[in-house]
């Protein structure tokens, strides 16, 4: 376990992040971060000039910072995570002007050795990208990185299978104050009138169930996840006669984190941050390969 300073990674908590997989970056160097920030800043300003609607009257400057976060990694073989932040600064008064953080993007690789192992030297492996803020800025920053480092961004979809894994894994985690239910959200969009079902279980009861399913602490098998989900499905069926397995699992929420099939995540506990990022890194790598 890497000794991470939780303060450095706290910015990830309790915010909604949109997930992307990123192919390895060619020619990227963490020695040139300030240079990249300047280039990206110029690029962003140019994109703005091209005609993105800006508030009339107030001239807003976009300030770009690119920094690295050595604390955000799984092992020493991982690359340092890179954080890109966009702030709006009113250029009316240059000194002491308020800066408002409007967009954050984080490239990281947590225990992603198997991808970086066979890469030639010029490539940097940071397969997981998290974005928070307006879609327009994500698009601009993404375009610049794609052009500059010849990489490719793709939205990270999370399948119902992976969501079930998260449900099982996160239910088993020890949490100090069990306040949040373990919630599964299902969707049946193809009916004449679409149906959404939210199935929330008291976290103590969900954990009690999982603890009897999991045979070896520290290890989870696909079979155990299947048994866990089948138990929940059959409890539901007993009451409502509806087969949840015939619907689509679209979202999982626990006290640890919540994940949506469209590739949206929210981290809620710093203790388990690394664990969730490891899982997401793996999903990103699978999507790339």
């Amino acid at each position: 376990q890497h000794n991470a300073d939780p303060q450095k990674t706290a910015f990830l908590l309790r915010k909604q992040w949109t997930l992307y997989s990123v192919t390895p970056l060619y020619g990227f160097s963490s020695a040139h971060l300030k240079h990249y920030a300047r280039l990206l800043s110029a690029f962003t300003a140019a994109e703005k000039q091209k005609g993105l609607a800006v508030e009339v009257g107030v001239e807003l400057d976009i300030k770009v910072t690119v920094s690295n976060i050595p604390d955000l990694k799984g092992s020493d073989r991982d690359q340092d995570a890179i954080l890109v932040q966009l702030s709006l600064r009113s250029s009316a008064s240059q000194k002491n002007s308020e800066e408002k953080l409007v967009w954050s993007g984080c490239f990281c690789c947590v225990s992603g050795d198997h991808l970086s192992e066979n890469l030639p030297e010029d490539f940097t492996c940071l397969p997981l990208f998290l974005a928070n803020g307006a879609e327009g800025y994500t698009s601009i920053v993404g375009s610049w990185f794609q052009k500059t480092f010849d990489c490719c961004f793709r939205r990270l979809a999370i399948s119902p299978l992976n969501l079930s894994w998260m449900a099982a894994m996160w239910t088993g985690c020890q949490v100090d104050k069990t306040t949040s239910a373990m919630e599964l959200v299902f969707s049946a969009p193809c009916l004449p009138y679409p149906l959404d079902i939210s199935y929330a279980i008291h976290p103590e009861d969900a954990k009690a169930l999982w603890d009897t399913v999991q045979k070896t602490p520290g290890e989870i098998t696909q079979e155990e996840v299947d048994v866990f989900m089948d138990c929940l499905y059959s409890h539901f069926h007993r009451h409502f006669k509806i087969h949840l397995s015939a619907t689509k699992l679209v979202k999982v929420s626990t006290a640890i984190a919540s994940a949506h099939c469209d590739g949206i995540i929210k981290f809620l506990q710093s203790k388990y941050l690394a664990g969730v990022l490891t899982l997401l890194t793996e999903l990103a790598i699978s999507q790339i390969q």
Binding site: A188, Y193, L195, D196, A200, I201, L209, K241, I242
Partner: protein, 346 residues
């Protein structure tokens, strides 16, 4: 005309879809036909509403007229709000003659004795519905016309439909006023909520086509079905099964359109039961869950589940009982004793 009244009228008109504005203003009747003729209803809504306010200024509109316009708007577009259903009861069988004037007087008196700052308006409709609009203030502030509660009371029935809005603290007072004014003894909130006021009425007034529990002797196979020109090479597998599902669905949901509700919520406090072979949880305490169903038209959606293969037919009575029980919020506990696996809903 008061600034706040002008602004309120302007905002109310802006809520109305442009094509409906003239009709609603006519229903309102506060502006004359001649005045309405002077408005260009093809311009943008901002300008239409300004013109309306101008004319209201000429007629010296006050808050009472503005409130009536608001009632009319909410009566035509009730689905913008969430409605809860309340039932009043009293001992004694005689149906007393309902005196509208007396009702209004008592209602206003009770509310005003507790709260000086409150705007109360009534409007009666042909279907015996009395609409009441209440704008709430505090002992120190004027009524907030944007934080209003609505009550729809059908005087021939013990049912009241309330759209309370944010200020739920005024609800007990409102309920008390209703009970006193209508000469009932008490009032209770039913576990039934929806955006669709008409569907709530359908459910409590039993205006939907109910399924009858009698055995239905296979009408599907006996009916004369017009011969379809189908390709004889295509065989319908499981035809019997499909027909069985359709029949059971009809028995349970009835033939007619379902009342429109958007959600149902179940708080489950039943035991977790599993196959003993699976060697999983075997606790003596309830497995606590909260299940929420939502859909633009929930009952029709549930009805389509079995034919789509996503549910067994017949669907669970926990779902199909919603219109009969007139509720969409449930607390389910295990039924002790004779029938294991059956549920009780208090």
């Amino acid at each position: 005309m008061d600034e706040t009244v002008a602004e309120y009228i302007r905002r109310t008109v802006l809520k109305i879809p442009r094509d409906e504005i003239k009709m609603i203003l006519q229903k309102w009747g506060f502006l004359s036909e001649a005045q309405l003729e002077t408005i260009n209803f093809h311009q943008i809504k901002d300008n239409i509403s300004q013109d309306v306010v101008q004319l209201c200024e000429e007629n010296s509109a006050d808050i009472k007229q503005a409130a009536v316009l608001d009632i009319i708007y909410n009566n035509i577009y009730p689905n913008k709000r969430i409605w809860s259903v309340y039932q009043m009861n009293k001992t004694g069988e005689e149906t007393e003659f309902f005196d509208l004037t007396d009702f209004k007087k008592k209602f206003k008196r009770l509310l005003r004795s507790a709260l000086k700052n409150v705007t109360i308006n009534f409007r009666e409709y042909e279907d015996n519905a009395i609409w009441i609009r209440i704008a709430w203030g505090t002992p120190y502030t004027k009524p907030n016309q944007y934080k209003t509660s609505y009550v729809v009371y059908h005087s021939q029935t013990p049912y009241v439909f309330i759209s309370a809005s944010v200020l739920r603290s005024n609800l007990p007072l409102l309920c008390q006023a209703l009970v006193v004014a209508s000469n009932y003894q008490d009032i209770r909130e039913m576990e039934l909520r929806s955006h669709s006021l008409n569907s709530l009425k359908d459910i409590v007034f039993k205006r939907y086509s109910q399924n009858f529990q009698t055995y239905c002797p296979r009408p599907l196979t006996e009916r004369n079905v017009a011969p379809e020109t189908v390709d004889l090479r295509i065989i319908q597998e499981n035809r019997n099964e499909k027909e069985r599902i359709q029949r059971l669905n009809r028995e349970v949901f009835g033939d007619g359109p379902q009342p429109k509700i958007e959600f149902a919520q179940y708080k489950l406090e039943t035991m977790f039961k599993s196959d003993p072979k699976m060697d999983v949880l075997d606790k003596k305490e309830p497995f606590r869950c909260l299940v929420k169903f939502s859909s633009p038209h929930l009952l029709e959606s549930l009805k389509s589940l079995a034919p789509a293969g996503m549910a067994d037919a017949p669907l669970s009575p926990l779902l199909t009982c919603i219109p009969q029980k007139a509720r969409n919020y449930f607390k389910i506990r295990e039924k002790k004793g004779f029938l294991p696996g059956s549920f009780v809903s208090p």
